[in-house]
Symmetry: D2
Subunit: 378 residues, 4 copies
């Protein structure tokens, strides 16, 4: 195996939760070394954070532009190879674009961009660049999610009929029901957070999981949002009717006002010969229904799993791996691609996932605003 | 307690599953004695069945009309007091109507009638009769369903925001995917089964559970059915967006093609202060979320439960009661009403539930056929 | 099917919980009619109760002896055929013995007798009588318990290696920790409750479940009780090491001080080729492990179940049946035996189960009192 | 925060599973940098592995003795500060001892030594050294295990009455039932694997969990092993009756022949006021029983958790962390101790845990071999 990949970090400093997740994921399989970063908007904060986590300071730059400029001056075998973009959403697009345009690989948080237009523009840059772009839809890295995908791909469910994805959280409750708070928070300000709160932040994960696992594409959708209050213009809850290839129908449900729910992502997939149920909060249990047979519970690490699933497990069965390990699997897939090694389709979400996601988010908003009508996706 | 109530049975003979359910429910709390019946269309079959379950034969009538006629000739203190209607759906309305019109109390299976019109007509007869009418939405009799209702009524969830009900089964798969079978089966023949398969048979249970537990009424709905095949005109899957009082939104999901699902009725209710999750296949576990507290799991029989819930439990905690016991609770509530004893709102589903249910079913069909538009319920 | 069996009830009046359980179980499959009883020690109470549940009063006797005497005077085709003994423990033996000696069939609550000596004496009476004797180890009637038994019998687990049964409750806590209460309660008074509290009341169920499901016999055991307080002489907690045929080892754990536990009976059985886990509080889920395969979850009512299991289920999969239905299965098995019909081994626990149970209870007491030594069972 | 701690690794090379676990745990919280190692017995293998995971090669030593010798020649601020011992069991003692004697901190896999004598000898070296010694009983690092400990410490369960720990695996089945294999495998050869297989490998984890969570000490025990075959002299299954402070009783069950079990460590703790149930394979769910209240389910990351628990969680509720994160918490605790920072009792298992563990293992063997008699622990 070649040397560790030289990784740059954008964002993720201070007590950023997403920062920890990415950093640990990068370490887990011994593939990456952090060599440069802009952790925070203030250079002083970036340096402090670098010191705190004990990263050499000389490549902690004052801003993103400087990072690009200075790194390009380094010899290619010292230069950052890939940057991980963990900044607030509105910076994903300009940063990822400039990185690709300047020959860097990119690992990027979701939502990929602020708009579908930006997504398509980024796609063009990516195509032109020939570089690796990985989108961190974390949940696709779970061994049991990978197992669903591969089993469906192998035809064991037969033709899919029905899909039902849910992503319920309750965290926005203390904000949304307080008139002052909901007016003040950036999350509910479309100029800062984009056109959608609930669908943009979590609904898109459910959408991605649905397309990732089934290999089907949503063709059209009809969406109903709930804003809860007249003075609020961002969705905090929504249900989306979806239609896919071959007259398959489904529903995507997302909520940020589902009181008491933590991170309730779940999916149910039913096909001619079998069905799957999987829940993110118990990620190592995959429920597999087959006509006329007892329910089967798949767990990671067993030889009966597919290669893609087994590749995502480090320890023997019964040793629970979690969300850090899931993200680490995505980082590993990206590492293979960056090194030019062979990798399987499905090892990490791609630019196409990002473009589909933005297409989905905008379509839900259009559907709702036009009176819950059917919108065709591209 | 007065003597046992004299019960007549219509339908439920032979190996009818619903027949067993009702008969046992009637026995369980020592409230009823079966004194007369028309178990089957053929008199010989009715007599054989009566013999088999050891019911006296002299009041086993050849048909429903004879039962009415002969029973009315008996002295009032010998006469059947209440009839339980367990026949195929299209007979519910004419039987229930004639029974009420002739002064009998009625316990009736769902769907109450074939059409909303019939439902309203039956409601009028019921009003005129002054008799008891109980609709056997079995699932409302579970102690934990009753617990949800009472806790919500007491305001412990605060204002409700979001409701999500599901009823998934997979039993129609072997029929629907076979062109010959799906053309031949009465279940998918609208002249025999009514205007809806999936929504009429199971979706309406989910709808009823939603209104029963929250006390809210669905004001309007938008529905998308899946027929699966062009030559099939009955829904075998559907999703319904619903809007209730006070801008509450929700979704009702029903499917008969959810491969591997058995009897997957479940409900999630989220309010300002808390949330509930309940699943029919584990009926004795009620999950209660409160902001900032550990998840709580309610179980039947504990003193912390409400009276309505405790009334529905016969044994101490940890002794699982099931669906027969749930139905028995409804029979018990009806018994109290028939005897003129005090009973609580919620002890059994009523005529109003039946009318609402038929309104719901028809509205979903209209919504779908008109192109997934919003339909107001009455 | 012949007429209903004429059933007499001994005990179970007033608000007796066990009374409800037996009565409903007798009704559920249309096999029995209650024709006579001594519900309570006071004749007045028996009559009141009979009136309350609407049983004819003329065969409600003042005491057990009168019941025997008067019933024997009735013609055989009117006479009580079987008596169900639901009295306090110390009456089981004299009643069951006299019933058998006088030609009545007997259904009897557990523990069958107060001592092992009594058990052997009753066994002799039973043998001499040629009558049916059914012991209501209720849990053996669950479809999934029956499934375990039949699958093991068919050899699908291979040679059994290890068995682990648990029965944990917490109900005695409020009594045992209060010096006055624990001195006053009859449950902890050996002159009234027999030689063992915890092992006699619940441990014996776990023991029975172990022998019932595996078909193995415990050959020797070593027991350690916990009395909690020096002034208490009855076990409220105990663990039993057991050795069975063929060097199989296991453990039986029972407790009445397991705070918060309701009725926590569970069993784990491991064999050469597979394993089972079953928990009474979720009786319709049976977990089946096979080497190198996903965990399988059996549920009742599916055609993949064995005949004995399917016979114990009335409704299609997904309609939860519970403990009343489990007891009803035992009553049904006894009914077949009483009518002289064919029935399968395992349809109801027998005299042998009762004798084994008393042998077990006494052996645990001897083992503990002799300093936790190994005791051979007969 | 100071610079990363300089970590040396002993063992854990190649495809060692425990190697991955430790390495990732060391990385996760940015506390450690691997600067030297002897990964494998052959120097070539060590170097290859170092290259593979991209560790500088100049401090990859040919053997342990050389590592000690050479590192001692380095200036103190470059020298390895702590070594993590991940070798086969028989090397733990000599390595840990020499490390402590030469002024290195030690992180050590369990079982700590081969014998109780060695354990006491190591304890003496540790005491003399003044260095940090952390034993990697991984499961103590789970947030919900920490939560149990702290809640019990705070008295919320009242006086503990009853403890029941289980550790069931099935992995040895393919070996033990094959006469040739069981004769050949080092795991069942006492000269290589120590005096106990099942109790030494996994039973000791259950024992440790029991003492760690309750703060109680086992005073005496009685053990029964199962060897399965006469030609096998190592336990592959065992049950241990234990007695603790204040007449508390409990049971520890361990098995390697529990077919189908993966890594089934679980604990049940019952006290005067409440009880806990926790299962390793669902580590983020802690079941808390309180008298007269609904069951409560604690999950990590919520403010209602204790500080020790919250310190062990990196992400918000609903983002499952797993066994790598659990081990990382232990490494973090050790890091604080190594840096001389404040840390809480319970952040990592200590020398005392190791000594207790070896005392436990030897006592179980003595008890069994002397005929299942009570053995006092020191």
């Amino acid at each position: 195996m070649p040397k560790k990949i030289r990784l740059g970090i954008l964002g993720g400093g201070g007590d950023s939760l997403i920062g920890v997740l990415h950093r640990v994921a990068a370490y887990i399989n011994d593939n990456y070394e952090i060599v440069g970063a802009v952790f925070s908007p203030l250079h002083r904060d970036s340096l402090d954070f670098a010191e705190q986590i004990d990263i050499p300071l000389h490549r902690i730059y004052k801003d993103f532009e400087t990072l690009i400029e200075k790194e390009l001056q380094l010899p290619e075998d010292e230069r950052i190879q890939v940057c991980s973009v963990q900044t607030p959403n509105f910076l994903h697009y300009p940063m990822a674009k400039k990185l690709l345009d300047n020959g860097f690989h990119v690992i990027c948080e979701k939502p990929m961009t602020m708009t579908y237009e930006e997504a398509k523009s980024l796609q063009a840059s990516h195509k032109a660049s020939g570089k690796v772009f990985a989108l961190t839809h974390t949940y696709t890295g779970y061994p049991m999610v990978r197992q669903m995908r591969q089993i469906i791909k192998a035809g064991q469910l037969g033709k899919i009929h029905k899909i039902d994805a849910r992503y319920y959280q309750g965290w926005i409750n203390p904000i949304i029901h307080d008139e002052e708070k909901r007016a003040a928070v950036w999350r509910l300000d479309p100029t800062k957070a984009g056109i959608s709160s609930c669908m943009g932040d979590i609904g898109v994960h459910a959408f991605n999981l649905l397309e990732f696992t089934t290999g089907l594409k949503v063709k059209s959708l009809l969406c109903d949002f709930n804003y809860m209050y007249k003075d609020n213009v961002m969705d905090v809850d929504g249900t989306v009717l979806v239609r896919m290839d071959d007259h398959v129908k489904g529903v995507i449900r997302a909520s940020q006002v589902a009181t008491g729910e933590e991170n309730g992502l779940a999916i149910r997939i039913y096909g001619e010969k079998g069905g799957f149920v999987w829940e993110q909060e118990k990620p190592n249990f995959l429920y597999f229904f087959e006509e006329g047979k007892p329910l089967q519970v798949y767990k990671p690490g067993h030889p009966y799993n597919t290669k893609l699933s087994l590749d995502g497990t480090k320890l023997p069965p019964g040793h629970p791996e979690g969300i850090f390990d899931s993200m680490a699997n995505i980082y590993w897939g990206a590492a293979k691609a960056i090194r030019g090694e062979a990798y399987d389709d499905g090892e990490f979400p791609t630019m196409e996932d990002g473009v589909r996601g933005m297409n989905f988010i905008e379509s839900t908003v259009h559907s709702h605003k036009q009176g819950n009508v059917w919108i065709d996706m591209d």
